[in-house]
Symmetry: C2
Subunit: 304 residues, 2 copies
């Protein structure tokens, strides 16, 4: 069974996890979340989103969050920047890496941002150029890389095409995202093999949702296809906007449990992450959606 | 990615799933559960346990359950039979397959049944002989094949040794069970490779718990090691007795979603199973612990 010896985990809880929360979360809580995550050893934390507060009010305090945190050397702080205005704000706030995104599904692109995939990518070009000019790391995210809620399975060629376009725009890292969590392991393996024919595997990441419980199996398959970067969210923060009440982002605790169990290094402290998951779930007044997190908490309670 | 084209799912909900329920479940509900499961196409349903009602009061009505069900041709009905008395009752009730069991962990065997692994296997010999004499299918289950709550990781040689012993006793099928759900994929692959060196892979099954969210990844790894039989429980019935509040048996819906998504045939109707999961969870007054089941229910509700 071919598996890597090291994996990079990008913790997306503070941004992708929190962005759809209805109740505004105190800036102080966001700052504590980012600080505790960086202290747990994550090499990369998605910390903010510089989008219009009209669209995502939860992320309106990105500048304050970045000003309030204790920066840990060794952690890259990322933010979503859909346009130049967002990019300038991110740069001023001291972000290390900016994220642009495009869908691999034409139907999703039209329904979500009212333009074709091609048009959406053209819109990101000024951001990409500005990032390169400023010497800021650039990440490109391919949403609906496996399937979309409107047209079902995404053709592999579409995902590969968007990956090539993002690479041509100068992206240092490219995310293959199963936005709705319907993908299964064999398809993940095939998509990752196809994408890594045009992009260096060391620059490709997997972003999986656990909506149908498939995320860890998909990560296992992606690793077998040569992928060594994965996104996850502490306590599984971030539901699925396409299936109310269902799980969204894969929980970081579950991913770390699997990787460490297989002797794969991440540099992240699982016990610390389990504590953070317990704490942030309490702040949001709900149960963690991490299975490993819940089992570790039960074990801790039994030992106490 | 090597994967089988067909997999046999053993649905263990009615027995392994329900046995630890505190509140006695009406015999009529158990009968309906077994009937709906067989109608959904399962080739094998673990329907009852013929153990002392003093030890497992929930399973005291095994004879009534077997008498009440509509037997579906093509479904094998199994029951746990720890001794000759249980075997005779199972035989009289019309069970097709009896299950005996031994732990691969010495500490677990001592703590749970007060005897060594060797002694426990000797105790099962009369049951095995009676099953063979009666022409009844015999299954042997290896609990704690990967790890145990008392001594940690189980040596692979111990699991292989118990497998050999069960094979010598005439078992037609041998279960490798991760009773506490702590195993991860690489270990599963290694254990399955070792066990299938002494037992025909077509006769080995994987029984995984989702306590730490690892079950689907473990099933994927086991399939890559040549395993084509898996146990699962509708709605994830059956918690983990070693971590209160944590998940136990892997949910059948999640397993079917993965297998069907990869084009692997099971002969089981996932939509029907999702409905059964929704129904039985309602009967028990709780949420399903199946992620695919919850997402399918949310999708159905949104479409209605």
């Amino acid at each position: 069974m071919y598996l890597p010896s090291k994996v990079k985990i990008v913790e997306v809880g503070p941004r992708d996890g929190l962005q759809n929360e209805k109740q505004f979360i105190d800036t102080a809580v966001k700052i504590e979340l980012v600080d505790r995550l960086s202290a747990a050893g994550f090499p990369n934390v998605e910390a903010a989103s510089f989008v219009s507060p009209k669209w995502v009010p939860q992320m309106a305090d990105g500048t304050e969050v970045m000003r309030g945190i204790r920066r840990r050397p060794g952690t890259v702080y990322s933010a979503l920047t859909p346009n130049l205005r967002g990019f300038e704000a991110a740069l001023a706030a001291g972000i290390d890496e900016v994220v642009i995104f495009g869908a691999a599904s034409e139907a999703f692109s039209q329904r979500n941002i009212n333009c074709s995939i091609d048009e959406s990518l053209v819109r990101f070009e000024p951001v990409a150029q500005a990032a390169k000019a400023a010497g800021i790391r650039l990440r490109g995210s391919i949403s609906c890389a496996l399937a979309c809620p409107y047209q079902g399975e995404t053709p592999i060629a579409s995902a590969v095409n968007v990956a090539q376009r993002l690479l041509a725009m100068g992206c240092d890292e490219i995310d293959v995202a199963d936005t709705i969590g319907t993908g299964t392991a064999r398809r993940v393996y095939d998509v990752m093999r196809a994408v890594t024919e045009v992009v260096d595997p060391a620059r490709v990441s997997g972003h999986f949702h656990d909506t149908y419980g498939q995320a860890l199996a998909n990560i296992l398959a992606a690793m077998q296809a040569g992928i060594t970067i994965f996104h996850s969210s502490v306590a599984g923060l971030g539901g699925c906007p396409y299936a109310k009440g269902a799980t969204g982002n894969v929980a970081t605790e579950d991913v770390l449990y699997m990787l460490h169990g297989m002797g794969i290094e991440t540099g992240v402290d699982l016990d610390a992450v389990a504590d953070i998951g317990h704490w942030i779930s309490g702040q949001l007044g709900r149960k963690s959606s991490s299975r490993a997190g819940s089992a570790l908490a039960a074990r801790k309670a039994a030992a106490a």
